[in-house]
Symmetry: C2
Subunit: 388 residues, 2 copies
Amino acid sequence: MKNPYVDQPTDRHPSLGVRSKEPLNAETPLELLAESLLTPNEIFYIRNHLPVPMRLSDDTYTLRVGGDGLKSRRLSLGDLKKRFKQHTIVATIQCTGNRRKDLMDSPSPKEIKGLKWEGSAIGTATWTGVLLRDVLIAAGIDESDPNIRHIRFEGHDEDITGSTYGASIPVSKAMDPRGDVLLAFEMNGKELSRDHGYPLRVLVPGVAACRSVKWLKSIEAHAEESESFWQQNDYKSFSPNVDWDNVDWTSSPAIQNMPVTSAITEPAPGRTHVVKRDGDDHLTVTVKGYAWSGGGNGIVRVDVSVDGGTTWQDATLKKIDQQPGRGWAWALWECEVEIPKGHTGPIDVVAKAMDESCNTQPERAEGIWNLRGVCCNTWPRIRLDISD
Amino acid sequence: MKNPYVDQPTDRHPSLGVRSKEPLNAETPLELLAESLLTPNEIFYIRNHLPVPMRLSDDTYTLRVGGDGLKSRRLSLGDLKKRFKQHTIVATIQCTGNRRKDLMDSPSPKEIKGLKWEGSAIGTATWTGVLLRDVLIAAGIDESDPNIRHIRFEGHDEDITGSTYGASIPVSKAMDPRGDVLLAFEMNGKELSRDHGYPLRVLVPGVAACRSVKWLKSIEAHAEESESFWQQNDYKSFSPNVDWDNVDWTSSPAIQNMPVTSAITEPAPGRTHVVKRDGDDHLTVTVKGYAWSGGGNGIVRVDVSVDGGTTWQDATLKKIDQQPGRGWAWALWECEVEIPKGHTGPIDVVAKAMDESCNTQPERAEGIWNLRGVCCNTWPRIRLDISD
């Protein structure tokens, strides 16, 4: 049998933290993530479920539109660019399993299956394309039709049996005039790279990135969600008491909007950072990170604590001005954390974000532990060691 | 000076828990709250900021529509009912300060100002009225006009200086075809009572109830939010390190969507419930409550723990089927909580809900403490005492 990974992109940045090689799954170096509001394309995290498809080109590519109640048609990239207004939005996308490591490292003895993503399976870019809404309207969609409840996406990436990647979103999100769902061909002003879905991908802002299907092959309207493995039996959240022996995949909805989260990117988590007091009575340490929430909920505030969450210090936010309910992009934050007078020895720094809907993050993993390790948004934590 | 509270409603139910008499602020008996998906009008919580206005009647009432870019007009109740399509939605409304008691009783030595609401400043009803969106369209609103960013509401209720209650919502919510913002005249199929805003109130589903202005006097479109005290200097959330000495009201946005929350209604919180084991090795206790989230995020799951959150049991949900993103109504839940084998003595039961966006509740108060005591959504907790 032919190796399905024979023709994969060769321009992959060596600094990416590889979580799996075939398919490639790799994340940005954490310490670079909070350096700029837009993540450079070269180091943007890559989440591939299947081999990157071969033989796609601008010239021959066509998108198939169809399904219940839509006029069946094929659109070339040229058609899309010429016939529909182009839009650019700034949006963060995040792998549903970002920060899975923090759930895997929590005390539960039960098994989580999934890639051990740290905190960088997330990134922000400007995305340019046409509105899915406009394409659906041109295809004659009738939103009031009770048989049109989900918009399914299929990718060109396929497994060895020929089965393709797929996902769907509710028609309400697809058609929302403020939903900003794009069929995107540019990322940060450049043509999409092969790893990011060249020549065309879906970009569903505010929603788990697994629904932003890359290498888009078709769009269909249906009464039911995508029948794909990833929609039905994969990206779902369950109670901590559900494990691989008793899971009923039909009992929980497919994840769409993601919860509020944040991460500390500097000093990096996972090791102890020695800080010399050098006789200073007043000692501060610069702590940086990002914060993001799904559903268009912009970040309102990030608080930082050095006493386990009893008292809190405000972080300064850097963010792009976006409308209420359309806060698709993350906030970067920075805090000059005050170390208590006279303290020496280890000290933990934790952070938490609050979004536009006043949602906050859970303190610890036990309450949100789930067998797929998705939606981890516990308080991020780093350890300092203050020495004299 | 005339007593502004001289002509107040006399049909107030004696079982309501009164938190202030003038203006009346009173909540439903907690143990009745989770008994039915729709809260009976008679025991629905009442939150008045000012005296209930006098001399409003069906016949003489008119609503003023105006502001930037709207045709200035007056509409009678008859006009509204005849000229616009009537809609009925099921929605929960919640006072921004619901469960403030749990923040007030938390360890912080700093002062919270506000009514000491327990867990019942929340209720669910069917609301019948016309869509605010339709009224704004008829008044010629141009959504793309950059000077129209907020819809302001003014009530007929006024203080002794003649200043009225007011609030606003973003135009995006007001005009969202799936936002379901009503100008409502019926509650659970009956004409609004005086305490609930007769003859007309705003009903903004998914949003803090302080924006659902009662006794509606006027609607205006503006570039800026309502200038009312309640929009500018009251219903906002701040970091735990902000107190009454250092608060800058301009530094935080007015609360709109509310975060995910839940409460235990049975056994009632606040006292210890003795449960006799009577030799039973397998002992369960029925625990009931409600769960709700703002922004149209339906409740997906409620988990219950008897070991402080290390392990969890699933609750059974009872809820109304609503579309994704339009989950305006709460879920009621019930759990046969298993008490660990052989356990005697005190045991705490905690609960937490997860909504459609996978947001969950914070465990304890310290991280969400705020000087106005708003948006309290910590894990609810009751104490049992298991005796032999």
